[in-house]
Each structure stands twice: as C-alpha cells, then as structure tokens.
Point group: C2
Chain length 113, copies 2
C-alpha cells in the first residue's frame, strides 16, 4: 500500500539494504518491527519492496519520533541482529519531506484518466 | 545497488507506485528513464525495487535539478504515459536528506562483523 501521509512537512527514513543469505528469524523480525513501528508515537506510514535491493521507507511526524524509534529497546535488538546476520550492507537516510503529490486512477473504467 | 551518495544535505525523490496490468512499453521506458536520469546535471544516484508496490528513489544535488528533470521533455512524455497506462496510483515525495549513515560488512568472512 502507498502510505496515506498528511500534508508536508513530515519526515521519512529511507532504509536501503542488501541481504545476506541468512534467513533465520528475518521474516518474523521484519513483521514484528513493522507492527512495533506502527504503534509508535508519531508514526505516519510504511512502504517497502525488495528485489536485488530492499527499500523500506517509514514516515514520521518529527525527528524526535524518529530518534525515539531508533532508540526503542526491541528495535535496537533487531538492528544488532541485522548487522550481525541479515544485512551485508545498508544505508539509512533521514529526510524532511518538503512536497508531495499523488495520482489515483478513477475507479470507473469509463471515466477518462 | 545502494546509491553512493555524497555527505548530506542533498535531495531525494521517493516515487511509490502501483502498476496496472498494462505492460506494453513499460520496461523499455523504465530503463530509458533510468539512463536519461543518470545523464542529468545534479543526478547523484538511483535505487529501486518492486513487489506489491514499487519504490524508486532518485537522489539529486538540489531542488533545481529535480525541477529540471521533472520538466525534461522525454521525461514528461513518460509521465503522461505512466498516468494513461502503467500506473493505477502513485505518490511522489520531494525530500531533503538531512543525515545518513551506512553499514557494510567486512569482506573477509573471518573478520568479526
């Protein structure tokens, strides 16, 4: 799903990663972290996809919410396991979303796009 | 590949999309746009993956470079075709990257991570 974020400004964390061949516990942890992130104060949405690389983008109301999420104890544990086992490389980028625009095709197929 | 961007600040365009079932011309155009983007002034890198949704993130040195790329005539044509055929929905977010940090596993497997 495309995250239904509020009007800018808000914040995005772009997490780009390359996986190792170690799968043990990865999917469970990824799902747990999605769930846990979505319960945090200031969480606005999450988008993700993986092919050759994985990209997941989480959206937040403030840098303070991002800082708290990064420091969350269970998230810290996941980050340590990620470095030890699941990721061969990653890059995290903290961004301020300045502008956004959206397109959605009309549902009625007879309506001109 | 994870984009090897310079130290912040720089800019990111997060393009999140849902495809229609119309494939005609899509892959060719996607490849052409990747190539064309990489030739533009101020281009810093590109990352992409698609599963249920597609996320592609392009990185730029300035908002002006992003504006010029959006206005590029061949890119405009691709955007029009995207709306008419290839995408049922998308969202574009223009961001300023404030901070980033990276992890890369040592190449020697005997080196502790």
């Amino acid at each position: 799903m495309i995250a239904q974020t509020p009007p800018p400004p808000y914040y995005a964390v772009i997490f780009t990663s390359i996986r190792t061949e170690i799968d043990e516990g990865y999917l469970e942890m990824a799902r747990l972290m999605e769930e846990l992130a979505s319960e945090q104060e200031g969480f606005l949405g999450l988008e993700g996809a993986r092919e050759e690389i994985g990209i997941s983008v989480s959206y937040w109301d403030s840098l303070e919410s991002i800082r708290k999420w990064k420091a969350n104890a269970r998230h810290q544990l996941a980050q340590q396991k990620g470095i030890a086992s699941w990721y061969s490389a990653y890059r995290t980028r903290i961004c301020r979303v300045e502008r956004d625009y959206a397109f959605e095709k009309p549902i009625d197929p007879d309506t001109p796009a």
